[in-house]
């Protein structure tokens, strides 16, 4: 089979938003689960955990576009979430802006910061760029601590009063068909609607001309420049898009947490590494991989904390439980440490043994299933 024919066949289906029947079915199923979950799982803890995962998914899609499609590693993602969080705190809660306005503000401010990083991406390569994105974490932390009139300094600030209404629909207190929804349920819907919109935007970017240009920049930047793909334009665009999505994700995360306060740069760095783990485990170079990663890994700290009590049997030799469910409880690991270690182990294990992540596993599974049917194995979408 000639490589040209291969290329043509792979390129054509990926132009479609939902390339084949199975993808359409899975998408329909996801929408159904989204609509039903809050009705079945009417529990504030779970709603908040899933809403947080949604906020993480929005930000992860951004990082996936930057790292997976444009090949730029960033350790500054957590800083951009922080910026998004304070944007909703300042404009939404302090100044009473309507929801569409503070969302737009979070997106635009995120994008602006991304554009500011862009020129470094042009001048610096690889490791140097990674450390510059790390600088963003330190600089943001400094600004947050010292610009107290906007951020509230060390005391942090409540974002509870930010409006969640758009038109007649108020996600803070939803009424649908005479049924009242809690604030947590409303925020769950809000977050996952934004995940769907972000995924749509992301998918549209990567399956059209800009997406191909970004991949060209990722794979061979000089060659891309030679055939007329401007490195400057697409690297800066990738940082802007990724940062805008991180800003939106951060705003949603703050809304879900109700409160934002500064955390130290080390914690911010670890949050950034968690985002890297999310997109690696989910699968680089896919949008749905980022969403799956965020759904599985995003809630890990909360889940470890919640379920530590279930594993309270003691380990024989050391005579202590594996994870303490409270700081006083004498577990081998604290819940926070255990979840961080899980992130680290998952990141390393996936990079070594399954670098294509869960999306890659799904792709292989579909190829195998498709092997005996009339579905062309190469037609399985790569994106």
């Amino acid at each position: 089979m000639s490589s040209r024919a291969d290329a043509a066949r792979v390129a054509t289906p990926s132009m479609k938003l939902l390339p084949d029947k199975l993808t359409r079915m899975m998408f329909g199923l996801a929408v159904l689960i989204f609509l039903v979950t809050p009705l079945v799982l009417d529990d504030d803890f779970w709603m908040t955990v899933l809403a947080n995962a949604g906020a993480f998914a929005v930000a992860s899609i951004g990082l996936s576009i930057l790292t997976g499609f444009t090949g730029q590693v960033s350790l500054g993602h957590a800083a951009l979430l922080t910026i998004g969080g304070y944007t909703v705190g300042y404009f939404g809660a302090d100044h009473g802006w309507p929801m569409w306005a503070w969302m737009l503000a979070a997106i635009l401010i995120g994008a602006l910061v991304g554009v500011a990083i862009g020129p470094f991406a042009l001048r610096l390569k690889g490791n140097y760029l990674v450390v510059v994105t790390l600088a963003l974490v330190f600089i943001t932390g400094y600004v947050v601590e010292n610009w107290t009139s906007v951020t509230g300094g060390f005391d942090g600030k409540s974002v509870n009063s930010a409006s969640l209404a758009i038109g007649p629909v108020d996600f803070g207190e939803l009424h649908i068909f005479g049924r009242d929804f809690s604030r947590e349920q409303g925020i769950f819907y809000l977050c996952w609607i934004m995940v769907a919109l972000t995924a749509l935007v992301g998918r549209n970017i990567i399956r059209t001309r800009p997406g191909r240009a970004m991949r060209a920049v990722r794979d061979r930047d000089v060659a891309a420049e030679v055939i007329g793909v401007s490195n400057a334009r697409y690297k800066i665009a990738a940082f802007a898009i990724s940062s805008a999505m991180a800003g939106l994700g951060g705003a949603l995360y703050a809304i879900s947490l109700r409160f934002i306060s500064p955390s130290n740069p080390a914690a911010e760095l670890f949050l950034s590494i968690r985002f890297v783990a999310i997109i690696i485990v989910g699968g680089l170079g896919t949008i749905y991989g980022a969403v799956i990663g965020a759904l599985l890994l995003g809630p890990l700290p909360e889940l470890v904390q919640e379920f530590a009590g279930l594993f309270d049997f003691t380990i024989p030799i050391v005579d202590r439980p594996l994870v303490g469910d409270s700081p006083a409880d004498n577990g081998i690991f604290s819940a926070a440490s255990f979840s961080e270690i899980l992130f680290g182990v998952l990141l390393v294990v996936f990079l070594i043994f399954a670098p294509e992540g869960i999306a890659g596993m799904i792709r292989r599974l579909r190829r195998r299933l498709a092997g005996r049917s009339n579905v062309d194995p190469d037609n399985v979408s790569d994106n």
Binding site: R123, V132, A135, N146, A223, A266, G344, L347, V348
Partner: protein
């Protein structure tokens, strides 16, 4: 003027600390081309090991230090062998991401193994101070500068004069060509990581001793401040790491000494190092002493 000299001594000592931390990064980068984020974790774990051997097991300090260096060299080489080596020919940023995962694991492992919030690390120099011409010099600072000089000199000697050093340089230059010449590429990797681990112990002990001898997991965060030093000097230049460390040390100490706190706010010294780094990078993208990257089209 006395204030200036006082600050200058403090600046050189701080620079020495940053240089010690940065040298651990540089040796791995120079020999293997790996940007090792886990070095901050090595510094943290190294300091706790010195505490464990010296204070907890009551060994003499220098015995504890050397024992910790040996253990840490083994840990670092082991980590390289298990999680880095398999990925050497993988996609470029995979290894950087793996070292981030390792950093996460080491940091939490330390919090798990030593669960008290803080420990006190006892050192022979303690809080001793010597007055020279009206300027007081802390003994820990003298030791730091001494160690930094020793490590730098050792690097220079190893890279320049020993067979192992030449093998490491050849490996860094071109792995395949080095292997074709009969150089054991794997051994170069192991040795460079082992050296990084051992140097991290010294850096960790000195850093702890310098910041009041109180050992907390926050140490790895201070170690992150050495990044700008390394970047300013150039990733593959040991001399550059020292120069970068001193530059950051001087700027940081002078800024804290002469600028008004109300104006600069809290945490300014951390940001300053990074801002300085960004300015240098815009001017020279490979640092002051780094090798300019040549790209083949």
């Amino acid at each position: 003027m006395e204030k200036f000299f006082q600050l200058f001594v403090a600046a050189i000592a701080l620079g020495g600390i940053y240089a010690l931390i940065a040298l651990g990064f540089v040796v791995v980068y120079k020999a293997t081309g790996t940007f090792n984020f886990a070095q901050g974790g090595f510094v943290l774990l190294g300091a706790y090991l010195v505490y464990q051997f010296g204070d907890d097991w009551s060994l003499p300090f220098f015995v504890a230090l050397i024992l910790a260096m040996v253990v840490m060299a083994g840990v670092a080489a082991g980590i390289e062998r298990v999680v880095i080596r398999p990925m050497i020919n993988g996609p470029p940023f995979t290894i950087v991401l793996i070292t981030l995962g390792v950093l996460l694991i080491i940091e939490q492992a330390v919090r798990t193994l030593w669960s008290e919030p803080a420990y006190v690390l006892t050192t022979p120099w303690g809080n001793g101070v010597t007055e020279v011409a009206g300027v007081s010099i802390r003994h820990v600072d003298m030791w730091t500068v001494g160690f930094a000089t020793l490590v730098l000199g050792g690097f220079f000697a190893i890279f320049r004069f020993t067979t192992i050093g030449i093998a490491m340089r050849a490996t860094a230059f071109d792995q395949e060509a080095a292997a074709a010449q009969g150089i054991k590429v794997g051994r170069s990797f192991s040795i460079s990581w082992a050296i990084a681990g051992a140097v991290a112990v010294v850096a960790g002990a000195m850093l702890t001793s310098r910041t009041g001898s109180v050992l907390t997991p926050g140490l790895s965060f201070i170690a992150l401040r050495a990044f700008p030093a390394m970047i300013i000097g150039g990733l593959d230049s040991p001399g550059g790491a020292v120069a970068g460390g001193v530059v950051i040390g001087v700027v940081e100490v002078m800024a804290l000494g002469y600028l008004d706190f109300d104006w600069i706010g809290s945490g300014f010294e951390v940001v300053l190092a990074y801002v300085l780094m960004i300015i240098v990078l815009l001017w020279r993208p490979n640092g002051l002493f780094g090798t300019r990257a040549v790209q083949r089209v």
